[in-house]
Assembly symmetry: C2
Homo-oligomer: 360 residues x 2
């Protein structure tokens, strides 16, 4: 019927086929309402139910404690580079950041416009191919927070140990959220753009501990977590359709056995691809240390640009799409979020082996 | 097959059935890509084409001159209540506003956090049931701009004459855009949340004259028009699916004969509904003056709350939905944007007549 492909895009990325099929079937008439979800008032009983379900499902999937609020915002993680410091800043205006790549750098640049930023650990010396050790003594005692990028989409690293500190920890979890079990209580604030593991671009999930809300008064309304928290994310019209798709994705994840089950499959998927790369003669993974390797994004490359190009074009002919690496690393990158089936990774691993044996 | 209703919601609102059917048919496989539009990278050739088409179509429909940029942003008109003053403000920090209702008041409140706001005209004395006369001498010569709300969704008024001034004019056109012919050159900046006449909630259209971009340096990136203009609205991941639906709506409008044709139908639709109200014995329109009447939102009411309630519930039984008025006006409100068919207004007008004759 349809000619679906394996899409290794870093985001917007694959969505579960069941979710898309459900959305298509409900497009003209949502549950007998005679309206599309796009046409529902955000104050209607139908949309209220969607919003409630989305929140309850996410809370259940991530075991989010009651003293955390779930907000649905707009503007992607990039808007949170601004909102997080603006909302959480204290009088010292000191904010500590760990620099693990392009997205960390962007977060740091926005925070610098607002206050006194210290980079307490940095892996730029080796093209961000590892997660740096964070010396607890580098973290300032009067800093409002320390910020990490949980999973680095471009460089393919991820945190497996968190900084040892009492300072509130905040994280950009865009490309890691819902892919493995984490303890929400480790964080004061988690934010994530949807277009990797949640849903379509255009909605941002913010999970924020109660005591982090309302710390700074008189903020512009649209930048104030309190406005969203006090109005159940309906301070103004939210991106209703994107929230609906997120709800369908959460339902899908629950049916699969939740984040625990997804993590198991994700580890298997990543292992297949890394093994194919590590066992090849011509390809090399950007991240050497297994501990630091992302389960979601796997950058790899051959030394020869000619081989990289040929790999990409032959992969595409085999239904393996959007594998081109980010220009700052080059080569290839396989983004294998929750919606990438095991079979897609099996096909990619087999293709890497075949290409290697033919070209080594 | 489907049980589509006439949905008089003020927004999110009806979309053309053809647009929804097209979106449903392309949901799992966009033009043979093997991917949903939601899954396309925002840097892909497929999405680039969608973005280009959306811009070209909107430029054509609204006759937007070359010295204006079209931007697709997030956060709704409410985010523009912040961004517009932040980007356009001058050293005097003086900004002049016309207060014609709830949305104007919200825009004014956000601007007050940034500078010196003067309300140069106001219609609050009569529950915003008319458009006030703007005395040109009230507009400050060193104000950065004067702001109007082109169409007032809640109170059902609209501007048919613009302030006589050389100060840059900016407008919230959320509920009026694309519904009637306007001259873009009258404005320095037009912004509009999509969920009335453009597409789904979650994308905001900004039409801004070149010389208004980059006036203020060192703004937060996500609040800076220049960042979006310099990156063709791809500074970060845009709300791709919402832009795609907007493009389908623009195509639909072009097929109908453009804004000129829509205005003709919209005038006919509004006339039918106003006539039914004006000719009734029990209903009264909130806005008396024909000159000030919105073509998009028609608030009306009976003196008796019992009659209002009964009207709403009987209307619903007849497939005429979401007619409840905003709490600040009460009674009913018929929002009849571009996607509301003539037949929907005919049915509503007939229902008003029938209800009136049975209850007068």
């Amino acid at each position: 019927m349809t000619n679906r492909v394996y899409n290794f895009s870093p985001g917007p990325a694959m969505l579960p086929e069941q979710v898309l099929a459900k959305a298509a079937s409900e497009m003209l008439d949502y549950k007998g309402s005679g309206m599309s979800v796009m046409e529902l008032s955000h104050r209607s009983v139908w949309f209220s139910e969607i919003m409630d379900d989305a929140q309850h499902l996410l809370r259940e999937l991530m075991h989010i404690p009651d003293n955390y609020r779930i907000l649905f915002l707009q503007g992607g993680a990039t808007m949170q580079f601004l909102m997080a410091p603006m909302n959480l800043m204290n009088e010292s205006k000191k904010m500590d950041y760990v620099n693990t790549g392009a997205w960390s750098k962007k977060a740091i640049a926005e925070a610098k416009k607002l206050g006194d930023v210290k980079v307490v650990a940095d892996s730029s010396d080796k093209t961000f191919s590892y997660i740096p050790v964070i010396d607890p003594y580098e973290i300032r005692k009067d800093a409002a927070f320390i910020h990490i990028t949980f999973n680095n989409t471009i460089y393919g690293t991820r945190f497996t140990a968190l900084p040892d500190t009492d300072i509130p920890l905040i994280t950009d979890m865009s490309s890691g959220i819902l892919s493995e079990v984490i303890d929400v209580r480790d964080y004061a604030l988690i934010y994530a753009g949807a277009q990797k593991n949640i849903g379509p671009a255009g909605v941002t999930v913010v999970i924020v501990r109660d005591d982090m809300i309302g710390k700074n008064a008189n903020l512009p309304s649209m930048l104030d977590y309190k406005k969203y928290a006090d109005n159940n994310s309906l301070f103004n019209t939210p991106p209703t359709y994107a929230i609906y798709i997120a709800k369908l994705v959460f339902e899908f994840l629950k049916k699969q056995g939740g984040v625990e089950a997804m993590e198991k499959v994700n580890r298997e998927k990543a292992k297949m691809v890394y093994e194919a790369i590590d066992n090849s003669k011509i390809f090399c993974a950007h991240v050497a240390s297994e501990k630091d390797r992302s389960l979601m994004n796997i950058p790899f490359f051959a030394d020869s640009e000619e081989i990289n190009s040929r790999f990409l074009s032959e992969a595409e002919q085999n239904g393996l799409l959007t594998l081109k690496g980010h220009r700052s690393v080059g080569g290839m990158r396989a983004s294998i979020y929750n919606a990438m089936p095991l079979e897609g990774c099996r096909k990619l691993a087999a293709f890497i082996k075949k290409f290697d044996s033919e070209n080594a």
